[in-house]
Symmetry: none
Subunit: 220 residues, 4 copies
């Protein structure tokens, strides 16, 4: 029986406590500075048990990370489905709003992603970053391709460049909800919902002017 299988057999209550504590720990301290000791103390579970469930600290992190990726992936899939009939820029707007709402619900998960992105010092980093590619690779690229096919986007644009730009702006917009300094005085961090909606609106208008086809597709 593999290590994580052992974990899966635990009572849901216990599993959730472990997951919540570990997410919190990794979000707060990153991988190396996270302390299994502390997680054991906070969950009230024996250190030895954690190692039985996950083998190593890395195993625990893998599990938490996969868990987080799965959450995000589910969220994206849902947004994709729910907005399938919308105009390209409406979908971007919905995506951003969904992103903000996801971050507010799971504040630590985005932080783990950011920690991962800029901490090179742990061995399995590349493997993890592959999994994160999903945002632009699985989500954004098809969305842009469809947008161009539908005539929502200017036909002369380079798909890669559009994806890159959208990824940059959207990611930064979301980062600004976790990392105060990054909001460039725009007051995004923990802004009230109506203010966020306004900001998203402005941002999407700006994107539409830069990327949108001259005459709107008329749909919607």
């Amino acid at each position: 029986m593999t290590a994580t299988e052992r974990f899966q057999r635990l009572k849901p209550e216990k599993k959730e406590k472990i997951v919540a504590t570990a997410i919190d720990e990794f979000a707060r301290y990153g991988f190396r500075q996270a302390s299994v000791n502390r997680m054991a103390r906070l969950t009230g579970i024996a250190k030895g048990s954690l190692f039985q469930y996950f083998g190593t600290k890395e195993g625990l992190f893998r599990f938490i990370f996969d868990h987080a990726v799965e959450l995000i992936r589910r969220n994206l899939r849902r947004v994709k489905a729910e907005t399938a009939d919308q105009d390209f820029f409406e979908r971007i707007r919905s995506s951003l709003l969904a992103g903000v709402s996801f971050i507010r619900k799971h504040p630590h998960i985005y932080q783990i992603y950011l920690k991962m992105l800029f901490q090179e010092d742990f061995p399995f980093r590349d493997e993890f970053l592959q999994k994160i590619r999903l945002f632009s690779a699985e989500y954004l690229t098809p969305l842009v391709e469809k947008g161009m096919a539908d005539g929502d986007l200017r036909p002369d644009l380079d798909v890669h460049l559009v994806v890159f730009t959208l990824d940059a702006v959207m990611d930064r917009f979301l980062q600004a909800h976790c990392v105060p300094f990054l909001d460039g005085n725009a007051g995004l961090f923990q802004a009230p919902p109506e203010r966020v909606e306004k900001q998203v609106g402005d941002l999407v208008d700006f994107l539409r002017r830069g990327l949108g086809a001259e005459q709107p597709s008329g749909r919607r």
Copy 2:
């Protein structure tokens, strides 16, 4: 005699070795996980000596950080001066190209900045981030304000939002030269110079369409 004065008296050769090693170490591991032991081993310098030069690990980091900020600041000042008579978007183009070239010359310095941004747990973080604000606060904001005054930018735009967007796109564009994953398949990472020039051109065109005034200011 203060600690760093002692360092300044060393032979240039030795100083450079220490600086290079320390930059590499902090870029790779961030502040907390960076190891003075390792730096001593890698430079071949006694641990005690490093502490004589810089007092503490924090002192060493401060020195390296100030060194980096100074490099960046000088670079920005030079670009600003050299492009004073250019149109707003030309200045952005020049800035990006200068940024890319700076990163290629000092590959680890941008990484240190990124580490700082997303590692929240060390004591003097805020103090250091203040120093970094200079990019958007001292550099970008005045540039945008002048751009609007000159009629290069659309007059109805919100300065904060423009700064935020430029900062996001430019920062991400530069990040993509340090963090392979972030280039969104655009192939920016270590791309040959001509390719970079093309990418910068496309990006600036896109920005001009989104932000530029209907009729160009005529200057240049």
Copy 3:
């Protein structure tokens, strides 16, 4: 579970070895110069384990110190009770004999007290000295007060001065059993029991002449 609780669960054999080694170390070197490394080496116990048991070096010292104070306090309480019906000077004699016998049984404990007294540079010194005051404050002062009330002591004496003198002489007499030099050639250090009894007798006679009431109280 607190740190010291962990220690208490160890096998008695191991606990004793640790306590004995630590008492020896602190007696020999005082607090600052005592080395946890050395204690680990001498006990054959991993350094990490000692820190699991006591948290910090200070924690270890606190434990040892409280242990010592408890031993002394128990001893004093016992002597007090057993001599309750004796004449004042008999009680002093009994106290001295009990002190000598205690020091012979626990040779390092008195040394720790002396180290504390004259090493001023560690942080929690005052807190610990408060605990030691018990000898003169809790023990000697009431004893002298009762002695005066019973008419064993000359009524014109100042209580403070008597306590001071008794404390000085008795403390020095006991010190002379730890610190060879202090016996002033009187040969007290590790003297055979019968010689100690003689010395104590002479000392008490001297005290009685200096402090005793002209006509003995008649009791006993």
Copy 4:
């Protein structure tokens, strides 16, 4: 040329600064915790020079200690000569007052002596303690012997015991001017001169009652 000879050739001004700083350092921190680094910094003299003058930290301490012993010895010799014609208890009184005044003038020297007495952990301790014996051995013993020969002291007393007792009480009385805790609430520490004189008087009266011959020698 020996190490200390090198020191002796320095300008008096420099020598005094070094001696004063070293006395202060050893009094404050004891031998092991004293830092040559700190002394070098405080004197403004290069660390290397201190080692040239004294060879090792131990050599420096030896020098300081001998210096201190010489000061004390000179003081005792002077008191001895000046009180040669006094009654025994008057000499004790004079000695105590001289001791208090010496401690007030050289507050750190007595502290060094106390540190030495109770710190066993340095190699040359016994050698140093031999030198301190002088107080009871060279000073007090002859004084007591003369006192008995002159009939100031009761003839049935044991010289060693008298020396021991006097040493204990007088030493403790002086300690109480350095170590607040030891004054047993008698308020000796930094007491005003007139109060000290009163305390000394009471103490000597007490000693006279305990040790003095029934009928005073009539001398003086």
